[in-house]
Symmetry: C3
Subunit: 650 residues, 3 copies
Amino acid sequence: ELGVCYYPEQWPREKWDEDARRMVELGLAWVRIGEFAWSKIEPQSGVLHWEWMDEAIEVLGNAGLKVILGTPTAAPPKWLVDRYPDILPVGENGVVRKFGARRHYCFSSRRYRVEAARITEMMVRRYGENPFVHAWQTDNEYGDHDTIHSYSDEAKLAFREWLAARYDTIEEMNRAWGTSFWSMHYNSFEEIDLPNNLVEEPTPTHLVDYYRFSSDQVKSFNKAQVDIIRAHSPGRPVTHNFMSQNTDFDHHKLGEDIDIASWDVYPMGGLINGRLSPETKARYLRVGDPDQPSFNHDLYRAVGRGRVWVMEQQPGPVNWAAHNQSPADGMVRLWTWLAYAHGVDMVSYFRWRQAPFAQEQFHAGLLLPNSEEDQGYVEVAQVAEEMKRLPKGEVKAKASIAILLDYESRFATRALPQGRGYVASAIALDWYSAVARLGVDVDFIGQHSDVEGYKLLLAPDLVIPDADFIARLKSSGAKALFGARSGSKTRDMHIPADLPPGPLGDLLDFRVARVESLPDFHRETVLYGNTSHQTTGWRETIRTTETVLATFEGDHRPGTPAVIGNDKARYCATLPRGEFLSKLMGDTLGWAGVEGLPDLGDLRIARRGNLHFAFNYGGVTATVPAADDATFLVGGRDLAPVDVAIWTQS
Amino acid sequence: ELGVCYYPEQWPREKWDEDARRMVELGLAWVRIGEFAWSKIEPQSGVLHWEWMDEAIEVLGNAGLKVILGTPTAAPPKWLVDRYPDILPVGENGVVRKFGARRHYCFSSRRYRVEAARITEMMVRRYGENPFVHAWQTDNEYGDHDTIHSYSDEAKLAFREWLAARYDTIEEMNRAWGTSFWSMHYNSFEEIDLPNNLVEEPTPTHLVDYYRFSSDQVKSFNKAQVDIIRAHSPGRPVTHNFMSQNTDFDHHKLGEDIDIASWDVYPMGGLINGRLSPETKARYLRVGDPDQPSFNHDLYRAVGRGRVWVMEQQPGPVNWAAHNQSPADGMVRLWTWLAYAHGVDMVSYFRWRQAPFAQEQFHAGLLLPNSEEDQGYVEVAQVAEEMKRLPKGEVKAKASIAILLDYESRFATRALPQGRGYVASAIALDWYSAVARLGVDVDFIGQHSDVEGYKLLLAPDLVIPDADFIARLKSSGAKALFGARSGSKTRDMHIPADLPPGPLGDLLDFRVARVESLPDFHRETVLYGNTSHQTTGWRETIRTTETVLATFEGDHRPGTPAVIGNDKARYCATLPRGEFLSKLMGDTLGWAGVEGLPDLGDLRIARRGNLHFAFNYGGVTATVPAADDATFLVGGRDLAPVDVAIWTQS
Amino acid sequence: ELGVCYYPEQWPREKWDEDARRMVELGLAWVRIGEFAWSKIEPQSGVLHWEWMDEAIEVLGNAGLKVILGTPTAAPPKWLVDRYPDILPVGENGVVRKFGARRHYCFSSRRYRVEAARITEMMVRRYGENPFVHAWQTDNEYGDHDTIHSYSDEAKLAFREWLAARYDTIEEMNRAWGTSFWSMHYNSFEEIDLPNNLVEEPTPTHLVDYYRFSSDQVKSFNKAQVDIIRAHSPGRPVTHNFMSQNTDFDHHKLGEDIDIASWDVYPMGGLINGRLSPETKARYLRVGDPDQPSFNHDLYRAVGRGRVWVMEQQPGPVNWAAHNQSPADGMVRLWTWLAYAHGVDMVSYFRWRQAPFAQEQFHAGLLLPNSEEDQGYVEVAQVAEEMKRLPKGEVKAKASIAILLDYESRFATRALPQGRGYVASAIALDWYSAVARLGVDVDFIGQHSDVEGYKLLLAPDLVIPDADFIARLKSSGAKALFGARSGSKTRDMHIPADLPPGPLGDLLDFRVARVESLPDFHRETVLYGNTSHQTTGWRETIRTTETVLATFEGDHRPGTPAVIGNDKARYCATLPRGEFLSKLMGDTLGWAGVEGLPDLGDLRIARRGNLHFAFNYGGVTATVPAADDATFLVGGRDLAPVDVAIWTQS
Ligand SMILES: [Zn+2]
Ligand SMILES: [Zn+2]
Ligand SMILES: [Zn+2]
């Protein structure tokens, strides 16, 4: 199903009816409203204006649209932050972050929790059983503008309480933090401060605990709203719209509290800010990184425990990246089908009409500011038409391979990168991309997840493995490939007692005796399958009794293992990229009995139930890898650039 | 006429007489003093020492020099800022900017306005009718060291008052700022804060209003001094020395209040910090960007409504750029003649003698610190000699083309650049340079100016056009070329109601339906005159009924217009550079009936009255484009590098 | 002798005995403890736990180790900084630098001086005559993490007192600072503020005085501890472990107060952060800059007035650089022999066992975290074995050439770099390197040192020469080569009255009439010995009656002198690098009668008494420049990569 983000408070009343009518006409079923409306609802303390929202819901609902209502807590009004200045977040530099944009609140502000609950409860009591309200969104884009981490006094006090709860005694915390180092001992939790503005880096456990605390604050903030919604709006699913690849809080944990995970799809900015080289960025300029949207669809499908929506789909150029190119004509349609192919059940475009004022006036909508149809509108109309040709109710099947994304491991490498340029999210996306080019569908999991039923687990950066997870993996039928640094830290952010890989040693017998981070101006070479491959960035010296599948070459410690393995698990002691990574992934799939295709180049494929999809991100027409008996529902065997094919086959 | 900047307070009394004598001997007519002398005049609160200044003026005047007296408000003394700390400006980071250099005051400090008026009035009452004082300079280099924008409490209070005056009601301000977006609504002007240290960018209208406010604060601060001077020093012109290409405040507006605009000419630092590529910078290393000084002469001639001086001319290397190369020997002479050719009536060198102490001790003077003649001295002597050969009273004629510099449009793109690397001042200089290479004289204008009498108006970045200006342009005889983004915003910083170009639509029928900012690693191509040209940085998708003069090529929306036009006006939907820009400018001149020369390469020419000038910025001797009947007053037809030719012709 | 850094407070009591036994077994004689132990000694105010330290010293001493005891003042405990917050330093941005790492104290905090003396006195009274304590270290790594300069109120008050003592009257300070410039006059020392957060750069004398003040604060802080140690621990030498090439305080001056200078040898991070091009860094990736460790051995030998130790020698990869590669296997041995060859009498490895927790958990030790031997351990065992083959008591002879490192000159160019990229320490290392490649041993000196007995003095950056030093140099037998900027400032940071080079004029007759700093994209050329050489970065126009040895070429002032000289002294008016520098240094050695070798390429040699050493930093086997009658004690004539040869010859 399709939807759109709409802001009745930004438009004159007289436009609402026509807007609603045109939405339905376009084939949209859902409309999201409300998430930035607090100052319209409550322009002054206790002065409440619900009547416009009543009317907006009425108009939209009567036109046939299902309303997703957002709690308006992402942007508290000015009068509120003036009255209670400790609502405002504090930056890492110690400076208060002022009102004037959005997300100007500290998750630890006790006052803000009261106020957020108050406005949420009022809204939910009013609309919880409204027949036109079919779903709820909590707040908006947790973590946008780097707002998970606040260095306020409120955060300091809450952090102390969190630590006391985690460690029980200060001596247990001293042990975990290693405060015998550099005379860092604490006598009580009241002595603890936040880890900013130090002379040098704090102990990494201090940092990681602060990241964990901040993550937990987001979860509890969100949970409070969910509880209110559940209490007064029975039967309506609750969602939150996550940010692409944000790892500032544990999305798996927050996902437990909601019904559907949704996320915001902005591939153009993703390309500009992303992992690719300038040359590759130039090649994909107006189609985006072919794997970044799919990665996130698959990830948030896991976060939503199977249910995933796109709450905001870019319908044209945006305003917020360093540069803001236009998507190629056709990409809005392509992205919509891509989402569907990866299991997304609702795609909502952001936004209905481009705003001619305020911060996002360069952000396209389905309509131009003057209400003319923009390119996105035309493409959505096409998708809506094409959808009618497809069978309903196709369900995304469980994949044969799973990628592990462990948020605490991300906190660990953020706290202790050990080498500039180590970006765990780019490494994971590189792995995903190598698999995607071989046409293999992927699920994401966390360490809490069931691993049974997968043929292969990919763990690019499982820095802090749970013994319990490793035990479950061991007893499962899955094989596993672990990336460098996997198992390198305990939950206390220590090196495991008998050296890394800690609990991973139960799967694979090796020890990491030395670790190097390496600069870009240097290349290591690895001999793998009789070929020398370049690798960069990271190298470990490991000792093992397992089979050595690849070795380092060159002057330094030649012949030491680069990739090792046994029947169950493999480990790679460097960060493979490019053709080394491709070959490693291809071999690993083969080892695990996962069937892949020859390298798809700029083509990508996906399956949903009986439907097969192909997407062409390249500049020339490509042939779709469909079976001879394929029946094409959309497109055909020859796939033009920026085009989509959908078929069934036996 | 020639002059020099002199600081008697920095030298022992016994040097003054000889200094004055040597100035006159060198051929100087003017001397500027006083602008940093406050702590010498009033070393303690109310303790006034005018006697040294009395004597200095006496010595200089008696030697035959005309004194330009500067008000000393650019550097308040330590005792004053200690007594009234709210004089100090506050940086964008919220930190007070301390005493110890200069320009350490906030334009909004009410206390400083009182103090600045007090010292100015005392000085003007004392010297206003002094026969040796022939002109006044207010303060010094408004905007240097990024001092237009202060984020102090004083500025906050003044900004609220300014907004109240501008908008009358808070609801009108809410409308203009678009505060229905992101819950930004304000209930009163007392809730408004300054636009720094936010979580994200504020609404652009908030920013642009803050820039307008800051600009108005400069104007009123300056006007207060001018009023005092006018009241007590009749007949003496008032000037201010502006900074090259500073666009932090509206120079046209401030220019209304003074008699002569002067500016400070430092082409070596201008090159290092400037728009050119490293290769081109290397080529022009010791001659500077050939067009940056001329651009500013022509600009400040407009700001001074015809009267322009150079208050500070670099006489050798300086101290403040990232690197500080020496000008080529001969450049001081060249720059002096260049100024004259562009209508400058007085060139004052900074400074008489190099200071062996304090911040600028690496800044050359006409004399070395030990009073020996430095290279600049020798060249000034030559200019003084050459000047005698020239007829007096030649007046710069009105040019056939005008370039529009609209400061509010600069505020707009600063607030909302939409793409990193969009630098409006570099774009305007590129346009100027393309015209200068064709040997065409240029005037600058603002939207308040009369456009009648010009054959062609160039508007590289008129983001916010006045309907009134467009109407006057329409009824004039001038043709016009507009650059990308022209007409893209209303005065409220909104997109025009029926899409850009707003009022420009009265000249040229088109609509801008999509805007893209593009990264450096990508090149667009444009088909123009049967040739493909590269362009970068910006691309608009426009619809038009006008003639299409150039089209975009490539995969994305091929064939859409890149340049359009009719008999009256043309519009370019990208940012042309290099040979595309050269060709476009050449064609545009031809279209408007403006006669140009073949590309001058490294030569530049200018006319003042009957005098023709040529300047050789290249490394080899060039032939001057003089008529066959030319009579050379300085130099000749073959022009050596770094040399100047002056001739008359029929 | 060899030693190791050990932290008993970080390990369970039951490991100490075995650790001590293994240290002795490995051949170590010394062990350093205590420098971060404050919070273990005094976990709460006045609660003292010496018993564990008593026992640790007992265990180590009984095992046969000599203890170096560090005062624990580099890391005051949390309870102390909570009680007296003015202990904490303040960063240049004005923000307090918080507890949680180390070096979190301000040298000007009067309270901290009391507390540091208190803990030091208690420790020295307790262990001063302990038979196992053989030496003391004060504090740890003054200046690490940029901690010499604090911008606290305590520093401000102390700075005022320091200025009052230096200048006696405020008018003398006004003269020196040149406050007649920009109205900067002060009426009393109470008006002075610290030179941070200004609108623009302060006067350079303000900056340099602040650097001098900060340097003096370090000296007096250290001296207070030395006095306590001397009073209660007779016969034990006192040392401090300096940071490689730190020039934030005057090491010569501090060196006067201690018995032995020691320093911390981390060549891998030194390479990554260092002066070499990326290509050269890649070539030396795992061996490091061949000259940076030797430079510092020679420098700190001078700081220690002949006695130098290595307190921390990297035994494997570290954790703190942008990238942290492994040393090549063999480098720990090579660095140990290199230290010995340059006069170092004790090399202590940092650290015994890698810590599995806290900030440095990626920092290697001789043992892995699980107590297994790491690579460094093996190499130390080899060195210990090899040492037995060598004669004892060989003493480093005085070198024939000396390099002058004047810390006040470094303060001067830091305050007034005049060109981005001017890095005096890189220039000095370049000079050192050019000499080292010719196999010549070097001493370092300061201006206080005796210059007699040297054939040649190299002064790459003597910006502020003492007249007294120049007089002593003049009357000595030494010749001298001065680099650009030498003599360019007086002690007041003024240009000398009759232009640079000030007092250097007594040696060499010239005047510097113009100075240029030049960007990297531009190359100057110099004609020297009939060959054109490229030079960059700096160019002076000088006038001289001396012999011109090299001249600038090109368009700008061709033929002006680049290198000049007479029988006594030479001066170079640019910054030579690469082959120009090599040739200049070779010629200069010849001129001074210093015998050099042909270019050693990647080989380096050194002499200590009768022992000759060679070190191969290259990737291929090289031939050692040993005499035909050489007797090899370690290695042989053909020297493999990363290998060491030691021989005697007649
Ligand atoms: Zn309730
Ligand atoms: Zn008056
Ligand atoms: Zn004592």
